[in-house]
Symmetry: C3
Subunit: 277 residues, 3 copies
């Protein structure tokens, strides 16, 4: 796997990544919270990957050496799980397993903010959060940005770009997702349009996007993979919204849609635009 993208991520590169995902069925190791563990696993199974929640410190490092990708999600941490985060992230970094940091609540909550700072030393392959979380994580890396209150994902782009010092790619999710990474040596930013306003009304969809990102990092470079995960989500959520009567029926319809979306659907429907600063 090259560590930077050859071309700016696009609908075409997302389609190719989905083809590879479906062919190789990557195994994700998720260390995640009690709210998302079930739905996140169903998202991975539906999309075309598999998942194992191995979140204890006795086995986390071992498994991070054999998984295709690792998700570390700070949603409902315990001391026990925090020890596993450290083991998994360190091992993933050492062995070259791609890993995703999902810094849920970082910035707003003191203990997990400290956990995130420690995890950053293991250089996540990608970081996925909302705008506020990305801004907060950027403040931890010594870039001196502090914890901005970034209401909009677009506002977090400078923070995301700053995080390319420690991560291969970074996304700030929102109604429009912003994803930054490197094409060759040059930092670039793209936005992923589309999606559904029902998506944020179902819990664990953000966490699931982090998990799906870990799956895509097993089959593509960080920037290309992170964009593909967001594109897969956006296209599937539009399809699901057509088959839903509200947030309750959207949740299973979204899983159906993640499963039914094809690479050609991404080619046709993914809306990915390069953002020139």
């Amino acid at each position: 796997m090259t560590s930077t993208a050859a071309v700016t991520p696009s609908a075409e590169t997302s389609a190719v990544a989905l083809e590879r995902l479906r062919e190789t069925v990557p195994l994700v190791q998720s260390l995640t919270n009690i709210v998302s563990a079930n739905y996140l696993t169903n998202v991975l199974l539906a999309a075309g990957a598999t998942n194992a929640v191995i979140d204890n410190p006795h086995e986390a490092a071992f498994f991070a050496g054999i998984a295709g990708g690792v998700l570390v999600n700070l949603g409902t941490p315990t001391d026990f799980q925090a020890a596993a985060f450290e083991e998994a992230a360190r091992t993933a970094h050492e062995k070259g397993t791609p890993w995703v940091l999902d810094p849920v609540g970082v910035g707003g909550l003191p203990w997990r903010t400290k956990l995130a700072a420690e995890l950053l030393t293991h250089r996540p392959t990608a970081i996925r959060g909302n705008g506020s979380e990305i801004a907060a994580v950027a403040g931890l890396g010594g870039e001196g940005r502090g914890v901005d209150s970034a209401a909009d994902a677009a506002d977090a782009v400078p923070a995301a770009l700053a995080l390319l010092d420690v991560a291969g790619a970074v996304s700030a999710s929102g109604p429009v997702d912003y994803v930054v990474g490197r094409v060759g040596d040059a930092p670039q930013t793209v936005r992923v349009l589309g999606g559904s306003d029902l998506l944020p009304r179902v819990t664990a969809t953000g966490c699931s996007l982090g998990a799906l990102s870990a799956a895509y990092l097993a089959v593509a470079d960080p920037f290309t993979g992170l964009v593909a995960a967001h594109a897969h989500f956006a296209v599937a959520s539009e399809l699901a919204a057509q088959n839903s009567a509200g947030p309750g029926t959207f949740a299973p319809a979204f899983l159906d849609a993640l499963a039914s979306v094809t690479p050609d659907d991404l080619r046709r429907s993914a809306r990915i635009e390069r953002v020139i600063a």
Copy 2:
């Protein structure tokens, strides 16, 4: 927020509470069990509130100071989580954040019964349980009732009334829900009719009612808010039953219905009756 109701809770006061819920989108902090964490969060999002599961002792007190309402649910406690219960309940009481105790399994299980007794010292704003649990909790408060085996929610009304010494309002849920609280200085009892027999066939619906109660306590006094949560549940469950083929499809249909129910639906359809002892 006044601490007692101005009038006996009714369909009208429930409708007004729902209007305020939808306008203010209260943030609930849930400390809950591994069975309910996902569904309960989706219930809050669907109904018009938001939720953060902050259940570790490092952050629970901090967050109880900023949340709109707190749920402490004893479903699957760990030692780690029990320390967070204590932190959250104490802080909520000290800072005036309304908090709900859901005493899952209290009476029948020894350790959590002791946990509940300790939590009662922090004077929950409301307590929600089934009849047996409410009777058991009343036995903890020194009223000398012991652990009755209250098969029917109606049988728990004396226990619920006794608990008004420590809580602002108390409900015993069942096919018919009984809710007690104060109007001015006078204890009153109402029953909430309706609902669906599919509701108890979906796990975590009771826990979700506790969480929704915490959301309503952020926008109404304890008695009015607790009744509104039960009325919202009853009306939504009737609607959901019309769109379900069994308990499996009822679960997402219930979320859709919680989202679609309007204040006027509560005005028209909520069946709340004052019970004169």
Copy 3:
């Protein structure tokens, strides 16, 4: 409850077991993982049983003495939960409560493999896993088989038969399920055909089958009960597949189907065959 089957388990014995399940509504105690806790409980409620997740070491032994059946699932263990596993399994064995071991990940993961070896000393009433897990567990019992890589459930039949030294019945689940047990003193093997390829695309269905097995062990001998659980699953999953548009909508449809399947449906549709080695 006799400890061995009077006749080879069949569609008829499964139908009778389902009748007893619906009449008696057994209470299962589940010690399970954060991925499956919600869905597994909904499976039990839909099928006709009830569930309590009592997985802390302060209460696990107490409850194992009063539950109808106990599930110990090794999916996402913590040190705290592992202590509860030991308490529940030991007490279930001592008091004669049937208990099921679901050895998730055993063989592939070092710590839980050691946990499983300790739990085997409390002689599970039944063991349910996939082929690899059953082969791995057999390697723990001193039979000297080691950890085979059994890709197919059929390949795990010799391992399952070896485990009859410590367990009343054993199943290896897959596209075709193999279940072994004793009829009188003689070991026998049956296979349960049918099912849906959507079933493994929904997480927690395997764990839920373990939980449903614990419910059936409360109303039948180990071999008969374990086969009935698999037959109930297979018939319901076929029905659910007809009402699904993908893995997302399959999940609630499967719960509906578990609830709607009748004993006569099992008589007509369950496909259970004796395997002569």
